[in-house]
């Protein structure tokens, strides 16, 4: 295996992570940072070269590494599938990850375990790259679990904080539910196709569209079943409504983690996976309908929660969830390229927003509550500008990256006929309004108005060092020009050549082309509601600052519902956690303690000890007792035989 761009791109982070993780204590934090950052730069450089090579010169390829499992019909090998879709992902992941690596040098400067942190970041990047370059479902699953593990470790990075530990566990458990679905989907795929290689699966997808699988006594459309199970996995990883509750809590991790894992890359794994499996999803019409509805609801509900939150990172976390909803309903209407386009632009502006908010938190000495901020724009002007750019891109204001991708999604959605698509479109437009509103609510509450922090904190507010600001500039460049520059490749006239065969769309589902013919009012709606949202936020939080409080009072129940995140956590606690604890306690105390231990180890031990004492008592030492026992034995045997023989 000679050194290729592909292997450098994927394995450089692994090397960096291994060095920093294994020898971090020996070589020191600075050296660990240096190694990981250098190798990430090498990885990102290779990825950009590959992006040029594969996407702009249209040359997809697969690098075979070696065979992993060969057992009967199951053949799994390690291979790096660098087709167009994977290359986009690799580029996004490595570039954002490099920015985050550098940013972390500054952000974590005062932490005790910097080498461990940077090792985790690198290993996460490696796992994510394995996921996106997977050539088969097993390798994808490996990467999928790998990012889950690193996410767990990074959320709980500050393991002296109890809230961080419980958030990490929550993320792990919620993801486990999703992973269970993914694993079942994987098995069902093998059951149906007798292979887990993408090329075999995709080659035979069309033949299988009428196949059925018996499951729980029902015959299900095989592809619908597989796609539904895989989507459960995607729901967990990408925080779709129902399995989303871990994402806001994941903000307990250090902010760079939130930026890299819980905004730009890992949470988009679900989106990527569905796009990767597009040859299957194209035939699973019912599941795509469900995805559309879930995506729309997620986009809208997350946005409604975001407008009531005060924690700066939570607002952005809910906004992430909401944007993921957009991506999913794009997938649902077969606009895979639009979904990936949004994933691409979102990675830049959301990482920018998170790192920017990290810069704010850094400046405020760890404060995350927006009610204790305000008036910061003069003190941290660079960060302020970065947050503006990020928000403009997020809200979909023309010329910024988010505008092109979000617009494309909503247009494709509108172009798609049917109630489901239009339902999602309405939710999407409403969410667009809310997005603009909460973004500027965040900006106004944080940077404008009178300072609400105490004087001591305000005196210490300082702009972040260059090592944190430069990554912001890089991301800001992406957030500003990413949409405009790549539009024609991702969803414009160059799209067919750009994507090659990596995304599959049935003839009748070509919504991107249809989107060119929608009425102009529908096309302009997202931008218009976006600007409206900004204006409303300006009015409420800059001019009539008393009004928000009055609105809250007037609509108390609604506000409570939103503020408490639609009570998802409480419902899960009551329906899931509490019964699990009750059942667990019963199984533990009664089932394990009394029944299994009681009858098993403890009981047997007790019986043996008792039996031992009793048999010892029989050993009286009197010869006639012994003789009696012998004769008794003889008589018993003979009697038994006499009866046997007579019969």
């Amino acid at each position: 295996m000679h050194l290729q761009l592909e292997t450098v791109a994927v394995f450089a982070p692994l090397l960096g992570g291994a060095i920093a993780g294994l020898f971090g204590k020996k070589i020191g934090d600075k050296a660990a940072n240096f190694v990981t950052c250098t190798l990430m730069l090498a990885s990102a450089g290779s990825a950009i070269a590959l992006f040029y090579d594969i996407l702009l010169k249209h040359d997809p390829r697969t690098v075979q590494l070696f065979t992993w499992i060969s057992s009967g019909a199951l053949n799994v090998s390690w291979a790096l599938r660098f087709d167009q879709l994977a290359t986009v992902m690799v580029a996004v992941v490595t570039v954002v990850s490099t920015c985050v690596h550098f940013y972390s040098i500054g952000y974590m400067a005062h932490d005790k375990a910097r080498a461990r942190f940077t090792a985790y970041l690198s290993l996460f990047t490696f796992a994510m790259l394995m996921l996106v370059t997977a050539d088969n479902l097993v390798q994808l699953f490996f990467g999928w679990e790998g990012v889950g593990l690193m996410s767990y470790l990074l959320i709980g990075f500050w393991n002296e904080k109890e809230s961080a530990n419980s958030a990490a566990i929550k993320a792990f458990v919620m993801n486990r539910i999703g992973d269970f679905g993914l694993a079942l989907g994987l098995m069902a795929t093998f059951f149906l196709f007798h292979s887990l290689d993408f090329k075999d699966i995709f080659a035979h997808a069309a033949e299988m569209q009428n196949a059925t699988i018996m499951f729980l006594g029902h015959g299900f459309g095989a592809l619908n079943l597989i796609c539904a199970l895989l989507f459960v996995g995607a729901m967990g990883k990408s925080a779709q409504l129902g399995l989303h509750t871990w994402l806001p809590d994941a903000m307990e991790g250090p902010t760079p983690v939130s930026a890299l894992i819980h905004a730009a890359t890992m949470v988009t794994a679900g989106v990527f996976m569905v796009a990767r499996m597009s040859p299957l999803y194209e035939y699973a019409v019912d599941v795509r309908m469900f995805i559309t509805i879930m995506g729309g609801l997620t986009a809208f509900i997350a946005a409604t929660i975001a407008i009531t939150q005060f924690d700066i990172k939570r607002v952005i976390a809910y906004s992430t969830m909401s944007q993921l909803g957009y991506m999913f309903f794009a997938l649902g209407v077969s606009a895979y390229s639009a979904a990936i386009f949004h994933l691409f632009t979102h990675a830049f502006f959301k990482a920018l927003l998170f790192l920017g908010s990290g810069s704010v938190i850094h400046a405020m000495g760890g404060e995350q509550d927006m009610r204790k901020m305000g008036g910061l724009y003069k003190k941290i002007p660079h960060t302020y500008v970065m947050m503006w750019i990020g928000s403009l891109a997020l809200a979909g204001i023309p010329l910024f990256a988010g505008y092109y991708s979000k617009d494309m999604i909503l247009e494709a959605d509108f172009a798609r006929m049917g109630h489901v698509a239009h339902f999602a479109w309405v939710l999407g437009v409403a969410a667009a309004f809310l997005t603009a509103f909460y973004s500027w609510r965040l900006i106004f509450m944080t940077f404008h108005g009178k300072p609400r922090a105490d004087k001591h904190t305000m005196d210490h507010v300082h702009e972040s060092p260059p090592v944190m600001l430069v990554p912001l500039y890089v991301l800001a460049t992406g957030a500003t020009f990413g949409g405009w520059a790549f539009r024609k490749f991702f969803v414009g006239r160059m799209r067919f050549k750009f994507w090659g065969k990596s995304l599959f769309v049935l003839k009748g589902d070509n919504v991107i082309s249809m989107a060119e013919h929608i009425p102009s009012w529908a096309g302009h709606a997202p931008a218009v509601v976006g600007v409206t949202g900004i204006l409303v936020a300006f009015w409420l939080y800059m001019k009539a600052t008393k009004v928000p409080g009055k609105i809250v009072k007037a609509f108390k129940p609604v506000h409570s519902l939103l503020f408490n995140k639609w009570y998802f956590d409480e419902i899960y606690h009551a329906l899931g956690v509490v019964p699990a604890f009750v059942v667990g306690r019963i199984l533990w105390k009664t089932g394990d303690g009394k029944i299994i231990d009681g009858l098993g180890p403890d009981g047997v031990a007790r019986v043996v000890a008792k039996g031992s004492r009793e048999t010892s008592k029989v050993e009286t030492g009197y010869v006639y007792h012994y003789a009696f026992a012998m004769l008794l034995g003889v008589v018993a045997f003979i009697t038994a035989y006499i009866f046997c023989v007579q019969r």
Binding site: S616, A629, M630, L632, V634, F637, I638, Y641
Partner: protein
Amino acid sequence: MTAFDFHDMIVALPEVKLAAMSLALLLLAVVSKKENYRLVAWLAVAVLAVTGALVACGTHGTAFGDMFVSDAFSTYMKLVVVTGSAASLIMATRYLEHEKASRIEYPVLILFATLGMMLMISANSLISLYMGLELQSLPLYVLAAIRRDSVRSTEAGLKYFVLGALSSGLFLYGASLVYGFTGSVDFTQMAGILQGHASTLPGIVTGMVLVLAALAFKISAVPFHMWAPDVYEGAPTPVTAFFAIAPKVAAIALLTRVLTGPFWGMMQEWQQVIVVISMASMLLGGVAAVAQTNIKRLLAYSSIGHMGYALVGLAAASAAGVQAVIVYMTIYAVMSAGAFAVVLMMKKDGRMVEDISDLAGLGKAQPLLAFAMSVLMFSMAGIPPLAGFFGKLFVFQAAVAEGLYTLALVGVLTSVVAAFYYIRIVKVMYFDEPKKAGFDATEDRGLKFVLALSTFAVMFFIVMPAPVLASAHAAALALIP
């Protein structure tokens, strides 16, 4: 049949020579002074070595009007018995001197008992069987009571004698019944007669059960085991070691020959008795040993359990089963010799101790001794890759091959229980706080030699099991072709 046949002498040469040499040694012992104890003892070992060589080079065939048989089975078992006797004699010599119990009768009695065992193994009729049995038992009674000044020793000897007499009575009653119904005492003829219908007659079955009971007494199988703990504890430790090694092997060999020879046609009947006895022995050996604090008593129960496992192979009633029994008894003899060597080394401030708790702290004080004991205990518990594991494996395999699933299952479960008390000894040695660290360093090279050899054999059986397995296979085929 002539009165004296030279051929008979050739076939029975080891026994004849052993008898002659034992008598000569007795003569020497009596006419010489008491100081010559050590000479007599070592001469006895030499006699056993010569006997072993004669056995190994011996001729196969029958002698004395078919009353005596020498075949691959008898050769193998005699070698085990003779080696066991020699080992126990080597272990005893210095110990008895130190305990001021060095009586010249001791080696001679061991020789006579060994002669009895060899005759038992080679017995081919009820008469020669009984002669061998008694020739073995009488010296054993005396040996158990050899410390006439000790109440416990005399009590042990007396108990053993009374109960042994009872078992002899049972045997004779059973033998007379069998003779009455078959009209023969010859094993070969009996085997022919007991094929088919005759085997289900109540009288025959009763006789067979009585004979079985007497032999079960000799191997201390449940419910004829009750003498064992008392005698093991009461008898002087070298005698206990001897009891645990040689007579057990000889009695199992005799039992095997009787069941696969004259009573082979009654396999259906005796198999059930053996299964019950085997299960009961394994259960009692496992359970009762748990509460013991005296190591000799513990080893008595352990020996009862081991007999149960050996009987599992016999219950299978197949060539593989007999082979498993032979292998099991060989390994058992080796392990017992090692374990008793350790017990004989348990001396604190010049005084022998027998409590398990006295072993505490041995792991630190005498790491090599503790290691050897651990290996032996793990082997007895049946932990791979030690020899004891293979012994159990083969008997269970044989039982399962014959469909005796319940028996094999009980065996596996009881070996779990038994593992507790074996491993407890290891725990005591390594983890318990010692009352007083370590034993007196032993100067006894004989003991060290036996212990080293036994530990080595137990550890490296896995490397070269073939000689034992092949000989055992040949021996088994001599009984069940």
